[in-house]
Amino acid sequence: MADLSVKVCGVDFKNPIIPASGVFGYGREYEELFPLDKLGGIATKGTTLHLRTGNLAPRIAETPAGMLNSVGLQNPGIDHFIDTELPYLLTKDLVVLANIAGSTPDECAEVAAKLESTDVHMIELNISCPNVKQGGAAFGTSCDMAAEVTRKVRAATTKPLVVKLSPNVTSIADIAKLVEAAGADAVSLINTLLGMRIDINTGRPILRNNVGGMSGPAVFPIAVRMVWQVANAVNIPVIGMGGVSSGRDAIELMMAGASAVQVGAAIFTDPYAPVRILEEMNEWLDSKEIASVRDIIGTVKPW
């Protein structure tokens, strides 16, 4: 049994696997299938200052080796999260990353400030949701806005701050450097890639929102490339995600430079994916006689 524990900006994870924000709600639904304690952490559903109803349906479409979603940050608001969901998650043996979002930098900061008095372990600031008209990717695709929203949230919280980056940019490494300079303790990437499908029989987009975020195995090579580029550009830890569906994928993303790995769409295919991925990682490490998963982080040997 290899040592699977990792540390991300001072926070200890017993293993590097974290269900990504949005696929896993607040964890309750999956507890029917496995104890949450098996996970290294949980990135909770993106939460805003007030309740958001989200986008009209359809919000989901299958794509080759992946899917599109346009949920639109439906969530019950930060107060509900703090009163109802967070206390329950904090009884579990795992790191809780509260994923937060907002329409303006000040709103993001206000949400972060509300979490300051809680025992949440980390804040993951979502500046990359492609499915909302204000905030979201509008922050994450503009250098100035990415820096400003990070600065404002940094000023509002002493919690470890992870900024979740959008892949829908020309240079994700440049954005990463800016949010690092603005006070981020870590970055997580990649959020979904903006995509679209059309029903050719009706001429209508499948998603009611017309466009949505693409995820799943199809995006995995892009995630590997971006994690590698960002890990080489910044001095803060990188949490990798994007199409991870096996232990080998998780190992690959860590070799590219990720200190921990989030799992998203794979959970829809196999609800046990996070647990299975951990087992597969352990088997691989044992087969290579690698004592600790930490020993593979960033070890890719580029040509």
């Binding site: 709600g25 009209l56 349906a57 080796a65």
Partner: protein
Amino acid sequence: MKYTQGQYIITEKMAIAREIYSFTISCTEVAAVAAAGQFVHIRANGFTLRRPISICGIDKEKGTLRIVFEIRGEGTAEIAKLNKGDLVDMLAPLGRGFTVDDSFKKVVLVGGGIGTPPMLPLAKIYGERAVAISGFRNSAAAILQDDFKSTGAETILCTDDGSAGIHGFVTQPLTDLAKAGGIDMVYACGPMPMLKGIAAICKENGIRCEISLEERMACGIGACLGCACRTQRNDEEYFAHVCKDGPVFNAEEVLW
């Protein structure tokens, strides 16, 4: 709520109409807790998303479930390739099923097209107290009529082109039954325009009505919030989720 994910053996496969298949699946622990109106979430080999399919039969003694589904696209086509003896990967049973009340003296079950299968478990429960109205495009697309008859339910068949049964929509016989009175509940599943029409008839006649909805779905258990449905609760608009809050909804809750 109690669901599991596993691989289960298909013990019977039948093609019951063009591109419509019936699977009987041996899954004792799922059958033991499954209820009318719930669904199973089936993995399609090579696809990211599972496909939600309503439960058409529950045999707790034999430990089997029956599902009947139509090939709608590549995912369901892949599932249809499975054969007797193959394993099917299911997350099940999911969702909130129909309200069943032993005191009901007369219920009407309305199924349209591939919305017909989830009505069959209700027919089994209510037997002679049920009238099963089924609507199809034509006689070739008509399914499950013998199954409904064998439950003791009265059956009324409608086809759009008049090639079998009543020439017309299911709303015609439903209107007649509603006017005659004595109906405790109408249960329905089918295309949205049909459900909307049924909800209106029930509202007009003061009859309780539950409908089963479908939506493009990802997790199937209420975590991802993909399968949104506009509903109204306590005078407030609320995006409910077909997988967890449904698939069965009180017709008056749904904002069409």
